[in-house]
Structures are given as C-alpha cells and as structure tokens.
C-alpha cells in the first residue's frame, strides 16, 4: 500500500507552482517569469532529489520489512519445533502457571484448564528434598537459569521424570517478569538407570557375597591346612607324592622331621628308599614296583633309619593313581609308630616273661600237686599207724595202764583222729580248687531233699524241722555243688544243736542273671564282726569243744561257688541264727 503513496505526492506539488506563473505579465513579467522559472526548476530539481531519497528510503524499509517477516517465520518455526519436542510451561514470578503446552498436558494428565492459574506444585511428587527446591528458587530468583532432573506426579498418581530447564525472563530493569520451563521426558532413561542401579546393587551384593564366601572358603582352607599340619605334627604323619614319569618327589614338612632329614627340593626315589632299614628295603622296593606296574596299594610297617642314624618304625601307606592303565603318581603317608612298636615289642617281651612265669607257675602247680599227693599218702600213713597202734594198745593193754596212762592214750587217739580229719579236709579243699568241672543241669530241689534226708538220718535223736521251699535248678558241676549243700546243711544241723526246737529253712530267689540260694537256721549264729574270717581255711568262730570241725567246710563251699562264677556270704546274729547265701549265674 505504501509504495503508491510517493508518486501521487509529487503530482500535487507541481500543480500550484505552474498557476502563479500565468498571472504576472511582460518584462518584469519576463524577469519575474525567468526568476520564477529558475525557482521552479530549482524546486523541481530539489523535488527530484527528495523524490530520489524517498525512493531509496522506501526500498530500505521494504527490505527491512521482508527481513522482519523472515525472522518472524523463523521464530514461529523455532517455537513450533520446541513446542513439539518439549514440555513447556510459563509461570509468573510466583510460580503460577500461565501457559502449558500440549506435551505438558499430555504427560501430566491434567487438562489445560486444570493447570493454568495453579502452582507447579500440583505435579510435585514429593520425591525431592526441601533443599532441592530451595536451591531451585534461589537460583532462578537470582535471575539464573536452573537445570535438574525432576520427578513429577501425574494426575493418575503415576510418576514421570523430566529433565527440567527453568529460564527466568527479565525486563529492561533486570526484574523477573516470568519463568519459562522447558522439560524433556526422561522417565524411560530414569527407569533404565534405576534398573541399572538396582542391577548394579544386586551385582555388588552378589559379588560381595561371593567374595565373602570365597573368603570364608579361603579361611576354611587355611584352617584345614593348619589342622592338617598340626595333625601331621602330632600324629607324626608325613605325606609324600611321587611323579612316576618325572621322577620327582614331594615330601611334606613333617616327613623331613620324621626322617630328621635336611629339606631338599630335589630328591630321587632311591634317596628316599635309603631311609629304609636295609632289612626292609627289599619289601619297600617290591611294594613300589607292584604299585607302579599293577597299581596295588601297600600298607606295611617298616624299620627305618633317619638321616641322623636313629632307628625308627614307620607305618608306610602308598597308593597309585593310574591313567590309561599306567601309574602316573604314587601318593602316600608315613607315620612314626616307633612308640607303638616299642610298646608292642615290650608286650611281646612281657608276654614271654609271662609265659615263662606261667610255665614256672605250672611247674609249681605240678609240684604242689605232687606235694599234695605225697601229703595225702605219706602223711596219712604214719598217722594211721599212730592212731591204729594206739587203738591196739588200748584194746590189748588198757588193763595195764593206770587212769593217767589211759587218759594220755585217749588224747593221743583223739588228736591223731583230728589230724587225720584236718589232712583229709585240707586235701579235699585243694582238690576242689584243681578238679575239672563238668557242668550239667542240676535239679537242686532233688539234691537238697536227698542231702537233708541223709544227714537227718544221722541225727535220729533230734527233732529237726526242715522247711524246704521251691529251689531253682542250675547249671553246675553236680558233685561239687552237692559238696556245697552238704557243708552248708551240716553246718546248720551242727550249729542248731543247742536249740531245743531247731528250724532250718532252705529256698531260693532268681532273676534273669542269677539264682540266689539261702539256708537259714535258728542256731548259735555268730558275731558279724568275725564274718570276714568265716570262709577262710581253718578259721573257726567256735571252740572245738563247743562244736566239732576243722574249719574247712565253708572254705570249700566258697571255692566251689567262686569256681562257678557265683558269690557266697552270710548274715548272722549271735544266739539267734545265721543265714548263708550263695548265687549261681544263669548263663555260666
């Protein structure tokens, strides 16, 4: 429109100047005319110049105008591009939203009307700290732009991350007009980051766990090693390995100690064999050969010589590891068994001594037996003569003796008889110790009843009251056991002699292991303080003139019971009676 304005103006100016020229006349009029013409030309010229100037100016303006249009378009494109690619909002100084672009609406889930006029805090997730926001406000209030990654909350409660750039707009005086926020959605990146972080954390945890378990395993290994070393040391066990092909030998520390050998790194098999006592080297070589050729293991006790020439005993164990039918390595151990071996040898020696002792004992026993035999024969013979001829003296020549002589003769006869009984009992006692036992199932009930009948038959003048209960059978040597009962029952009969109403009770009790037999009388009894003497040979608790006896019966009984694996004991009270007990095992 402006471009038509300038030629019209020039036409309007030309028209009045031409009218004045027509009104003035002649010379003067000519001069005037000339002057007027000159002025007119000048004016026309000036007008032309001006016109030219305006024309130039107009061209410039037009150029400017075009430039402006181009910039405006560029800005509009720019804004459109930013708008499309970012989340844009504009707030005033107080943070109240005045503009929100489509992206903002879309990501926040709020309608534009819900955003405009409200503060940004509407999308605050509460994730960031107070300091975080303080820092933001301080930065932008100072007119500086602020950039950070912010977690926001959408209307539906979901979260999203945005890379936020806030730029304050200032007026000419440097005062803040408003804030422009440009955000890009980094939720996915953030999620990836978090996932990565979690993954990292997990990995770290696993690594640390693995490390820990590795450390523990290491510790365990160290402990095991230490234990092995300690055990080796204390058990005096050394281990070794022999690489057959390479011919190399490994010895553990303890092995060097065992053989009191210097720690050599390289030893040949031959060198190690040399520690074996020459007597046993053959066996060792054979064992190694068999292990290499056939893979046979060995375990043997060998005499060895240490580096310092001390003789030791070693238990050597070796075994082969084979690959493709060939022995690759030999491994094994050597244990110092010198002490055990010495002890064994000591035992052997002791056994030999014991054997010779027992042989001596056997000899002594035989001697004792022959002694007993000779006592049996030789001692009884003269006694029989003393007794027999004293009797003859009495029978044939008693009339020739006075009272004193008769009394003396009686004493001789009585004592010879007593000595005979002593010898007989002693022999019986010794016989019971030596006699071979023949065990069978014995009906003790029957046995006791028979004995009671027999013995009671000799006591016709007395009114003996026997109470015989049920009596357990037993596995025993019948003859010997009979002797026990005879001795105990005759004792009971003997020691109840002074009781006008003698009562003797016999019975037994039993459990799984043993049977306990008892015989109880109401006789003279004895004082329990002498009970220890009761079962000893020739020990008597009563004077000979009170009760006859040699003091062997109970000793014989004890010997027999003990030989059967049983026990015998007694309980008594003076003048009230005694009870004798003995046991016989059920499984003899």
């Amino acid at each position: 429109m402006h471009c038509h304005f300038i030629p019209e103006l020039i036409f309007a100016l030309n028209r009045p100047a031409y009218g004045v020229l027509l009104l003035s006349g002649n010379a003067a009029a000519i001069i005037l005319f000339a002057a007027a013409t000159a002025t007119l030309v000048f004016l026309l010229f000036k007008l032309y110049i001006m016109n030219q100037k305006i024309r130039k100016e107009m061209m410039h303006v037009r150029k400017m105008e075009n430039e402006l249009i181009r910039v405006n378009k560029f800005l509009a494109d720019f804004r459109k591009a930013i708008d499309l690619s970012n989340i844009i909002s504009i707030t005033d100084r107080k943070g109240i939203i005045s503009y929100a672009n489509d992206n903002f609406v879309k990501i926040s889930g709020y309608a534009r009307e819900e955003l405009i006029g409200r503060k940004h805090s509407v999308i605050n997730s509460g994730y960031h700290s107070r300091e975080f926001w303080t820092n933001m406000w301080e930065t932008i209030a100072a007119g500086k732009s602020w950039r950070n990654e912010v977690k926001n909350k959408a209307k539906d409660g979901s979260y999203y991350w945005v890379d936020t750039h806030i730029v304050p707009f200032l007026d000419e005086n440097g005062r803040i007009q408003q804030f422009l926020s440009i955000r890009t959605d980094i939720t996915q990146r953030k999620a990836a980051e978090e996932q990565l972080l979690a993954l990292n954390r997990n990995l770290e945890l696993r690594v640390s766990e693995k490390t820990k378990s590795l450390e523990e395993a290491n510790l365990e290994l160290m402990r095991m090693n230490q234990l092995m070393e300690t055990v080796q040391k204390h058990a005096r066990i050394g281990v070794w390995e022999y690489q057959v092909e390479e011919g190399t030998i490994f010895w553990s520390e303890e092995l060097f100690m065992l053989y009191e050998a210097p720690r050599l790194n390289h030893m040949s098999l031959e060198e190690t064999i040399r520690y074996t006592h020459p007597e046993h080297q053959g066996r060792v070589r054979k064992a190694i050969e068999d292990a290499i050729s056939k893979g046979e293991p060995w375990d043997m006790e060998i005499k060895s010589i240490t580096h310092l020439n001390n003789e030791i005993w070693v238990r050597s164990i070796g075994f082969a590891t084979r690959e493709n039918g060939r022995t690759v390595t030999l491994q094994g151990l050597a244990q110092d068994i010198t002490r055990r071996k010495n002890a064994e040898m000591e035992i052997v020696t002791m056994n030999k001594i014991l054997e010779s002792h027992s042989q001596k004992l056997e000899t002594i026993n035989r001697e004792l037996e022959s002694f007993t035999y000779s006592v049996s024969h030789d001692l009884r013979a003269p006694l029989r003569s003393i007794y027999g001829y004293s009797e003859i003296l009495k029978e044939d020549y008693e009339s020739l003796l006075d009272e004193e002589g008769k009394k003396a003769l009686d004493i001789v006869i009585r004592n010879a008889g007593r000595m005979g009984r002593l010898i007989d009992d002693l022999l019986e006692f010794s016989r019971m110790g030596r006699k071979g036992m023949e065990k069978s199932n014995v009906n003790i009930q029957q046995m006791v009843e028979n004995i009671v009948n027999e013995l009671a038959a000799h006591e016709k003048g007395r009114k003996l009251n026997f109470i015989i209960g049920a009596i357990e059978p037993a596995k025993a040597d019948a003859q010997m056991l009979r002797q026990v009962w005879v001795n105990l029952i005759s004792n009971a009969i003997k020691y109840t002699a002074k009781n006008p109403e003698p009562a003797i009770e016999i019975g037994s009790t039993a459990n799984k292991e043993k049977a306990t037999y008892f015989i109880k009388d109401n006789g003279i009894g004895f004082n329990m303080k002498y009970v220890g003497k009761l079962f000893e040979v020739f020990q008597r608790l009563h004077r000979a003139d009170e009760f006859e006896g040699t003091g062997v019966g109970l000793a014989v009984a004890k010997r027999i019971v003990q030989r059967h694996g049983g026990e015998i004991w007694a309980e008594a009270e003076e003048n009230k009676g005694a009870t004798f007990y003995f046991t016989l095992p059920k499984t003899p």
Partner: protein, 146 residues
Amino acid sequence: MNDNNLVEILLVEDNPDDAGLTIRALKKSNLCNHLLHLRDGEEALSFLFSSDPANMHLKLILLDIKMPKVDGIEVLRKLKSDPVRKTIPVVALTSSKEERDIIESYQLGVNAYIVKPVNFDKFSAAVSELGHFWLGLNQPPVKDNP
C-alpha cells in the same frame, strides 16, 4: 603143691605198720588163715607169675598203690592184661585219695578201691567187710581146671 598154692589172700604193702594193722583186722574177722604179705610190686609180680594159675587158690589181692620199685598200678596193669590171671579180684587198698590213681585203677580193671581211713575202727571195719565180701559173698568165676 607148694605153700604158695594155699594162699587165699595176697597183701601187697610196703609199709609194715600198715600191713600189721590190716593183718590184725583180718585176723579179728578170722580171715587170715592163708594170707601172704609181700612188700612191693616186684615181689608180687614174681609171686603171681611164677606159679601156675591153675593150681592157685588165690581169692583176693589187697594191693597198695604207692610202693617203691614196681608200684601197684604197674602190678594191676600186668595182672589185668593177663588172660588167665585177670579174673583174680584185686582191691586197691591205699592211702591215696588222688583222683588220677582212682581213675587209672578202675580203667585197668580194679575190682574195688578203698582209701585206708586214719581211724583204726573204720579201718578195721573196712578190711573186715571187704574180706568177707570177696572171700565169702563174692562168687568167683568157675575155673577151667579145678
């Protein structure tokens, strides 16, 4: 017929005192009319094996076991392994109560085994009883050639 053939009881006993007691006991029981006392096994064997058993009237041998030179066991063995003389009753009359002597004697075929008691009364009774038994009650086997 010599005197030996009249012997009815042969006492083999090395101890003269014991022999005295035995003989007295037998005498008291009127059993000692034809008694011969020999003092050891050697004498006994030479007596027993020197005369023809067919002519012997020997009814009992009282044999001590423990004797010098040849002992009673040996006499018993020889006697009992002789097909003819083994029928002569032999009573071991001895001090020995040893089981092995008793067992061996019986194994060799002794007819009785008596342990001489120290007590003279018992001794006398024992000797008298066995004399009566073997000489009176016991029926010897019938001889082939009476």
